[in-house]
């Protein structure tokens, strides 16, 4: 049986690579320190692969058909997608996939009545590219990307994400292999990409959300942090935190918040979190 060996989460804002140096020096230092810490802990967990929960920003799926969840099943993942390299300031990178486990998620999900779409060649924008740049820079840890739709209505609720996360945890632990699996969620915190509040960061919401993670009471978080509350804190962007809720289902107890920056320059509440205890 496979084993879950790490669970962590971080913001994936394009500013973290595309215009990193425009944020205040102390934010840059905090972010680098926190991501360095995540990279070390990830290495220490000796994962055979990392399952990354992120979201599709209308890149892989057109607006007339946006599946709730999608798995990238490629043998090798190549990013960033055409036209995004300049925006992200990133060169081409290649990371091996884990097709057997990726295809298992799709098929085992179906048996459990969960619809996972899949892509033989997934394209990558900031959602996967930014965290991989910092946490898996040499591409030595194989990647299974699982994206969700949290930008095109109807946006799934956090409760739904927790339910899917719980099913994913059971499925991955039941995977017939001895893989050591790390879980990484990317997205959030408060931001409203392309909306009227494009420049806004809701620090109060972010600190409140991180505090809920620090308390580690999952039911309380799901009760209080509704989709409506996420949307109030920045529409079409803050709900990327649904990826963190998926990861939450792999953990128990309090999260450790490594850093938080209300980084207007990166146009996103920016945070890094690790869960020391796994469910």
């Amino acid at each position: 049986m496979a084993e879950i060996v790490a669970a962590m989460a971080m913001t994936h804002s394009p500013g973290l690579t595309g215009w990193f140096d425009r944020a205040p020096k102390d934010y840059q230092e905090q972010a680098l320190r926190a991501m360095g810490e995540m990279r070390e802990r990830l290495a220490r967990a000796r994962p055979d692969l990392v399952v990354v929960f992120s979201n599709d920003h209308l890149l892989n799926w057109p607006i007339n058909n946006t599946p709730e969840y999608t798995v990238g099943i490629a043998g090798e993942h190549v990013g960033p997608a055409e036209w995004y390299d300049e925006w992200l300031g990133l060169k081409e990178y290649r990371i091996p996939g884990h097709p057997a486990l990726a295809r298992y998620i799709v098929n085992e999900g179906a048996r459990r009545r969960l619809a996972f779409s899949y892509l033989r060649q997934m394209q990558f924008d900031d959602g996967v590219s930014v965290p991989m740049h910092y946490l898996n820079p040499s591409g030595s840890i194989p990647l299974v990307p699982v994206t969700m739709n949290c930008t095109v209505p109807p946006i799934p609720t956090p409760e739904r994400a927790y339910q899917v996360g719980t099913a994913l945890r059971e499925m991955l632990k039941a995977y017939p292999g001895h893989e050591r699996i790390a879980i990484l969620a990317t997205g959030g915190l408060s931001h409203e990409p392309g909306g009227p509040r494009y420049f806004w960061v809701d620090e109060e919401f972010d600190l409140w959300f991180l505090d809920l993670l620090k308390k580690g009471d999952h039911q309380a978080l799901l009760r209080e942090c509704t989709l409506e509350r996420m949307e109030e804190a920045g529409s079409g962007g803050t709900a990327e935190l649904i990826a963190w809720v998926l990861a939450l289902a792999f953990t128990k107890g309090p999260a450790e918040v490594l850093a938080y920056m209300p980084a207007l320059a990166w146009r996103s509440g920016t945070g890094m979190v690790v869960w020391p205890h796994l469910a």
């Binding site: 500013g15 607006i63 036209w83 930008t151 095109v152 209505p153 009227p196 494009y198 420049f199 949307e231």
Partner: protein
Amino acid sequence: MGNVDRCDKTLPTNEMMFHVRRDAKLRARWLTDLEGIAREFGLSREEYEALRDKDVRRLHDIGVHQYYVPQILRLFYGAAANTNNHPALEAYKRAYPDEAARSLRLQEELEKRRG
């Protein structure tokens, strides 16, 4: 619900943008033949004019998905160094002066707090 609920999922501009971002040939025509691309994807005159005028508020009002609006602007102005002073972001400040002013005040408050 939030601003993202204002998008019209059936608006031709929203379909067009998916393809433009993946197709270098379409992107190469963006600055010289936007009208031709708009015709090929069945955009209304109103959609075409909002695009041509880089009119952020109108693009939102007619139901362009908010995520596509900055990408539309980057097609006009370039994607590199997309900081808050990039022309695409300046277009947002013009479209939403109240929100921009509020952000500026927050920026000042954060700077003061950090010392």
